[in-house]
Symmetry: C2
Subunit: 237 residues, 2 copies
DNA sequence: CGAGTGTTTGATGTAAGTCAAAATAAGTGG
DNA sequence: CCACTTATTTTGACTTACATCAAACACTCG
């Protein structure tokens, strides 16, 4: 992938920020974006407490965000795939509150936030889109809240798989077969489960012919069953 | 409380939207705000799937937001106290995704969202403040995520009590003694616990001289111990 | 090719859920 | 204002889903 592809030429533009900007104004957006060198697996994009100055659009690869509790234990708070925006939780505090780390080789577009704010003053649709993006993030968090507080371990894993599948689809990729960018440990941590539990659920889903698993490669065989929350083809009473 | 108090005269203005608007422009903000009749306990401010047209600033009383799962079970997603903004999760979808219900008699200021967007185009600090507000919401959700996926029932209840205390303080009220606007059921639901568990924890906190509880009236006796997550005065190893 | 992660599988423990029922509080209509 | 109904809260006995502990088994990558 070329280092200095412009928004104009970027294949992600239909699902990224450019979708909110008229073609005639796209150069203005393009002008404030800084394309960085690729991050290697394990490298940090930003760390908690570092000054907040920008949000980032993932161009390739993937990242996870996490926070450390007072006791130093890690909590994975999100996974970010190409076309998604990471770093929006730092806006209110002037410093980042989470850490962002590459799960694999990844490239991001850096969008200096104060310049994005300036631009949003002149491009109403961009302001609106950014409000929407943040609102989406809030909505996703509410769903996660439900997942963590009400749903079984099976439901949680199924739900994450379906979310990843949907996000693949949005990029025009297969929603049936894909490679998980994150470890079982990260999945478990994100979903509030033990690694062993996640591993057992993957094998069980496979035994129940809902999923084909080969390490990090997964194929969703029975989408309906997964939607039904892991409970295999149960009928309502 | 008078029906048509303006932002100028509202005691909440230092912690509400007006804090982001210069006094000279406050009338413009004031002009788009609609003050509704009080909501009675149990009345809905908005319902999921209803068209989204506004966000709301709580002026008095309190509300909870909740979503219903496919199976019809309720998940409480948040509590909103005076000075706080409710309804921001509907921005991206053009319809509300959650329900908002008054926990007690409550009054709100309705802020038509498209007019707020227009105003934000002209008042940069208002745009920034609104980005901040949403970012704050995201950050709070991340903390909740940690709470739900890593922390014990004790920690969760303690954490909610401390959050409510902090929000009391922001309004200039006592952070030691206050009245819980929500039922044990709502607390349990919000924190992903059973009602019985919450009730037991309240009594235990009282036995451990951390809390004084009389129905919904609480007094935080040992703030440190609560911060320490319910684990009574544990030292770091 | 060996050291170090990451993943799977099995055996056992426990925090918190569920079920049941009493005690208390909050409405509500006569 | 009081009797009655309906919600909310508390307490106790029992159950369970998932965590934890332990150990073998793959990758992968210097």
């Amino acid at each position: 992938m070329p280092r200095h592809v412009s928004c104009n030429d970027c294949s992600l533009s239909p699902i990224c920020l450019p979708l909110a900007v008229a073609p005639s104004q796209l150069d203005e957006l393009d002008g404030i974006i800084r394309r960085g060198r690729p991050l290697k697996r394990g490298e940090h994009l930003f760390r908690a407490a570092a000054p907040f100055s920008a949000v980032y659009a993932v161009r390739s690869g993937s990242l996870k965000t996490y926070v450390l509790s007072d006791e130093g234990e890690e909590q994975v708070t999100g996974f970010y795939l190409p076309g998604e925006i990471v770093g929006m939780d730092g806006i209110s505090t002037a410093h980042h509150v989470s850490n962002a780390k590459a799960l694999e080789t990844a490239t991001v577009c850096e969008i200096p936030f104060h310049r994005l704010e300036d631009l949003s003053q002149r491009i109403p649709s961009l302001q609106h889109h950014f409000f929407s993006l943040m609102s989406n993030e809030i909505r996703a968090d509410r769903e996660l809240h439900m997942l963590l507080s009400k749903k079984s371990a099976d439901d949680r894993v199924a739900s994450l798989l379906l979310s990843l599948a949907a996000r693949q689809q949005r990029r025009g990729l297969s929603s049936r077969r894909f490679r998980l960018p994150m470890s079982r440990y990260d999945i478990a941590n994100y979903l509030g489960l033990a690694v062993e539990t996640v591993s057992r659920i993957f094998t069980r889903f496979q035994q129940q012919d809902m999923l084909l698993v080969d390490g990090r490669d997964v194929e969703i065989v029975d989408r309906e069953a997964l939607c039904g929350g892991g409970r295999l083809h149960t009928e309502a009473p």
